[in-house]
Symmetry: C2
Amino acid sequence: MGNKAKWLWYPGDYETALFNKCMAERHERDVLITPFWRMDSHYVTVKFYSDFTLTKPNDITIKVDGSFNIYIEGIGYIYDFTGVLKLPAGEYHMQILVNNVAQLPCIYVDGEELKSSSQTFRVTCQDDVFYPAAEGKFDDPDISPNKKVKREKEVFPVSVQNTDKGVLYDFGQEISARLSVEGCEIGTTFVCYYGESLDEVFDERHCEQLDRVEVKESVIETSVTKAFRYLLIKKDTHYEKITILSEVSEVENKGYFKSNDKLLEQIYDVSIHTLDMCKKDFFLDGAKRDRWAWSGDAYQSYLVNYYSFCDDETVKRTIIALKGKEPIKTHINHIMDYTMYWILSLYDYLNYGGDKSFIAEIYDSAKGYVDFLLNRRNDDGLLYNLPNDWVFIDWADMDNRGETSFEQILFVETLKRFGEITRIVGKGDGALYDEIANELLSKTIEVFWKDGRFVHARTDGKLQNKVTRYANMFAVMFDLLDEEKTKSVIDNVLLNDDVQQITTPYMRFYEQVTLSKIASEQNIVAEIEKYWGGMLNEGATTFWEAYDPKETGKEKYAMYGRPYGKSLCHAWGANPIYLIFNCILGIKPLCVGYELFICKPKLWMMPDFECVCPIGKGKLHIFYDKTNFSIRAENGNGYLEMPEDFLLCGNADIEGSKYIIHDGEELSFIKKEG
Amino acid sequence: MGNKAKWLWYPGDYETALFNKCMAERHERDVLITPFWRMDSHYVTVKFYSDFTLTKPNDITIKVDGSFNIYIEGIGYIYDFTGVLKLPAGEYHMQILVNNVAQLPCIYVDGEELKSSSQTFRVTCQDDVFYPAAEGKFDDPDISPNKKVKREKEVFPVSVQNTDKGVLYDFGQEISARLSVEGCEIGTTFVCYYGESLDEVFDERHCEQLDRVEVKESVIETSVTKAFRYLLIKKDTHYEKITILSEVSEVENKGYFKSNDKLLEQIYDVSIHTLDMCKKDFFLDGAKRDRWAWSGDAYQSYLVNYYSFCDDETVKRTIIALKGKEPIKTHINHIMDYTMYWILSLYDYLNYGGDKSFIAEIYDSAKGYVDFLLNRRNDDGLLYNLPNDWVFIDWADMDNRGETSFEQILFVETLKRFGEITRIVGKGDGALYDEIANELLSKTIEVFWKDGRFVHARTDGKLQNKVTRYANMFAVMFDLLDEEKTKSVIDNVLLNDDVQQITTPYMRFYEQVTLSKIASEQNIVAEIEKYWGGMLNEGATTFWEAYDPKETGKEKYAMYGRPYGKSLCHAWGANPIYLIFNCILGIKPLCVGYELFICKPKLWMMPDFECVCPIGKGKLHIFYDKTNFSIRAENGNGYLEMPEDFLLCGNADIEGSKYIIHDGEELSFIKKEG
């Protein structure tokens, strides 16, 4: 009992309450824009239970957010409670009921022999189901989860200049920050504009973000961060001093990547900064717009996160928030594909080091979504576009009415992985899901396979002529096709420039992942430098929601019919981190919990580099300079599969064609001459 | 469009939010006691839609409780909104999204050609389901549903006296009130005790209600009403003036009952006062304790209400609140019987004049509860006592483990009435439910019928020896048995004093209803005067939760192991109103919506009286003085079936043995000589 007491709550409700707060931070100019899917509430009345024994008199401090009562069996309700419960030695069965509509109901209990924790308290929302109470990192009696304060630091502009529209601050790169302004004139209105680009900040009628504060005291503070590189304080606004308070991530990047190829290094750094900007209490899609948690976007962020921040708590928090509460009435984010990415994400969470117990806890909800999907198939057993369902796939020109081949392929993999999850968390053998997956794959091929590749969709019972990359590349990425069909897809689609090009980093990601699988001759590094490097050439300091190299000038900032609608700091832009570590250096978990890793680098396409790649709880240190390659695992074990033209220096254990990497040992290689 | 604009919200959420407030008003001394079942929350983000046409420019005032945005198709989000939307003539599709975690999200829209109402706005919680927005009586732009203020009036004590414990106020009868106290001494603590009885108010260590307010300003107000007859301001508490603010019901009793039998008249009046005290925003069980909405208690209150206040809005509100939200995980109030009373109440609501549309709206939830019950039967098809299910039946000495005959009988009637509801609201023919009901009845007789009556229960597979009145009287009340079995139950149970007596007005009610059906020689009036009159003899000014004539002295106030735990103002005590009008005067709806009534009075047991009995939207005026009987319907049509010894004066239409009563016409009768 030497541990510190923790604040406790109903499992999932901290995330639910925080999600409500976080989702109310998106604004378009002065307009609040909260999500368009059902937002659930925390349970307003919850009851905590503890059975405990005191060997001596204890003074037990009890703090509660909400109205509450304390009941002890044999004693009854505690009348006249003033904050400390004085109990003599004895055995106790205690209940604390908390009622709080506005905020998370939570408790903190601290006595010499009773400290609140998930071990000492159970909780129920009074539906006859009891769970260990949930706890987090809140152990300060004065700072409950409802009083959590974001970490901030002051940041400084790289330049300040007077313009005819007002004072312009340039921070050199995109930041996420709010303002504290001193010396304002009471009775006036403080007005400022934010811009991801110079064009945006000077366009006061169309810029996406602004603050307009009626000055009632000489110091004002804006409450919600904005994402911007440029800040313009409107002309004639009176103020004396401005402090820019930037949000500080609670979890830092655990890796790094340095190279003599400065472009690639910069792409890595900007990717990290992009994800950092979009990772708040949840993995959000964009820092400026729209600051919501979207399952398909978050899915990629989780993958990138496993190779950078390893912020598993935020992964869990996002998974819980996206799940929502019962009853399941719609797809996650209303998007068919996004429900499936949510299930895929559970499988990745297991592999990349997450604990099984969390997935076991939400297994029933996951099964609820799988059943929801299964129940929405048509008579052919295919998923189809029901009214109000959004089949997103990608921002691109295509017709997703009826049945799309992409959704079927994604569902095949979803079912297979859900079968795996079922096995891993011990809920059965999952064979049922494998079976349905196989049937669905056969049906998908029967319906959509034409001229050596998948057609995009069947609409109103008629096969479209259009072919897109999506179903084809996902089928290859997920290894769903036989050798002949795989080759056919590669030739007819993946390496065929006539098939509609992808213009979002989102799907460009899966394309690169797929290309990295199929043919070693594909130079992914070059592709990354071309596409992501293209954004840097356009002045990007964070990666964008969409990038079409053909767009130049102001049009590159437009989207959704608004001149600055495009998000210039979008989480899915950060995925070169995954491409470098997973696809090029071939670093992956070999089994659940990252107990073992594999590293299978494609060095021929790499410049000289030195890096640290997180592997679950450990790190992999790698050095390469075209002649020498060395690798060392810190807190990890695994295998290395080297290109044939490298020779081991010294000794190593070998298993088949793989070197065994023991924790802490360094292996060095030298390139064969020739 | 001449109507006033109304505040709008998501259907059911006004009730949900209000229920959370109301259920947090129960206190035991200084301890808050909220319900022990799952309390749900309003939806925190809802979106209102309106399609409308303006023929000229309109200035549209929009008021919202919560953060919000306004979006108009073709225009986009409305920036810089200051409260009034100025729109030119045209066709519009408008959305208003409202976000409010702490309170009910609601809107008020008022323009010359657009006024918010359930006709002009739809609403969704963003789960793809849309409803007409809900409205109530809130049409003041400055008083949203969240700002509703309770009506109050000042009441005065009948005596004030100084005692050695403090100043004692006696209000002559039980009231529900809070205090406003002037001239308090800042820095002191204002302490007062409340008592339903003199014993309670003077027992400062055990009285159930008190207020203890730290005086920070010279005027203090208590926030939550207490129910009491006596108030004791603690000795040495400094104050100058006290004002007692009593809650005023928004709906008044629509009937009356006057008689030369002053005891019966008093029983009627005290019953009305009792129900009035327990009817707040919801039908609560007791005014002092426990102030929760309990489905079985509320069921009786609804029935009494149909013969007194006709407050259908509070019936609906209580039905919605008790229903809760999806998913259904437990019985209503955790009590098996209470889920079934909830379904029965829907059937009554339809008959007593409620609109079908409300029942149609919640039909799916009702079906959810019927399915919940069906799924909790055992292999014999019988309901049984599952862990965490509470089989209540009554406060009495009995063993409800295993299967109780009472729950089966109640379920048979529940299924039959649900079949009826299904037919009435046009959701099918309901035959399935009749079929299951018949099977269950057969099984119940097979298992529990022994020696000419139902045995109480089968526990651990063995039939108990105990017989109670419950299953037996309900089977007769619901006409479930054939003539032979009915007679057997009457002789062996209902008229057999050796079978355990009932000591709560709750079940005493059903007993009297049943007795009134079976044999005209049962003098229900005498029984009412004996049992309810007994409480008046004990000094009751409102009727009690339980009354055992054998208990005298202070012990009569005790319950739940607390000396004043018994509620002396309990809604189910008010049921003589129903017994008089429904069971003795035989006034009942003959069809859905009270379109036709029947009146079949048992005059032989009645003293002289004059009364008005509400019949749906109308009233029935009756006069009787043993020789003369007259009856007149005001806003109603129906039938009269007179005892044979009364002769019609004048003419009347006749149908079979019944006189037809036309709206507004009076029929007079005179008793035959001899």
